[in-house]
């Protein structure tokens, strides 16, 4: 893609009530990255990592805000919510750990693979969480 003078910033509100439209921000980001001419594998990594984070905000935190910052060589995804926070981050990061309720599981979510997938598909991932205040997850995908 062309050299970018200024980083591009995309901002989305993630609706915490609507499970059928969950993932809209990620789908829009995929479109935007395509238009920018980013390579398909990078788009795939960003899309999956962001979707998992977006779904988590819907399931676990009643929504939040997503920012995607595209600069030369790096795409940064910042997901911020004012949900319950994560008490034990190490445990939450384990494959298979989930507090998702049964109705969410019956939709195919809640396998406890979301945070591990986010780590797997990104080059850097940081979780800042305070119980009772909320969670901010920052991920970077280099390309």
């Amino acid at each position: 893609m062309n050299q970018m003078a200024e980083p591009l910033v995309f901002r989305f509100d993630v609706d915490g009530d609507n499970f059928t439209s969950a993932g809209q921000a990620s789908v829009q980001v995929k479109k935007n990255l395509r238009q920018l001419g980013i390579d398909p594998e990078t788009i795939r990594r960003v899309s999956i990592a962001m979707y998992e984070g977006e779904i988590n905000m819907v399931i676990h935190a009643k929504g939040g805000q997503a920012d995607v910052i595209v600069s030369d060589g790096c795409i940064e995804i910042i997901l911020a919510d004012k949900g319950p926070g994560i008490a034990n981050i190490e445990q939450a990061m384990q494959e298979g750990f989930s507090t998702a309720p049964d109705n969410i599981r019956s939709l195919g979510f809640g396998a406890g693979m979301g945070l591990p997938n986010m780590k797997r598909y990104t080059d850097e991932m940081q979780i800042d969480s305070v119980v009772g205040e909320g969670t901010t997850i920052t991920m970077k995908v280099k390309y």
């Binding site: 969950a22 999956i48 979707y51 396998a111 406890g112 693979m113 591990p116 997938n117």
Partner: protein, 106 residues
């Protein structure tokens, strides 16, 4: 083989085929969405019995070539329309997932 070629085979029915020229290069079978996103490769056929609206976003974001609903599972018309709009190919098969996978020539 392409998704168009698969759709033309006996045993497969088309639900939506907006991007039928896509080549199918691998197969992933699974119903848990995070497993699909973590393990399925791009350009594959994803065989599942999960049929809620979220499979469309998962297929699109994980960049699979098509969804195949096995075991005779059907898709609501609103979900089918969303798939068409989002450029996601969806086929159905009456066979179980494994037998369905065995019919694919990849």
């Amino acid at each position: 083989m392409t998704v168009n070629e698969l759709a033309a085979m006996p045993g497969f029915k088309t639900v939506s085929l907006p991007d039928g020229d896509r080549e199918i290069n691998n197969i992933y079978i699974g119903d848990l969405l995070s497993w699909v996103m973590g393990r399925a490769k791009a350009d594959g056929a994803w065989i599942t019995i999960m049929s809620n609206i979220n499979i469309v976003a998962v297929a699109s974001l994980a960049d699979v070539a098509c969804i195949i609903l096995a075991e005779g599972v059907t898709l609501d018309s609103t979900v089918a329309q969303t798939a068409e709009m989002k450029g996601v190919n969806v086929l159905t098969s009456d066979l179980p997932a494994y037998e369905t996978a065995m019919l694919l020539k990849i």
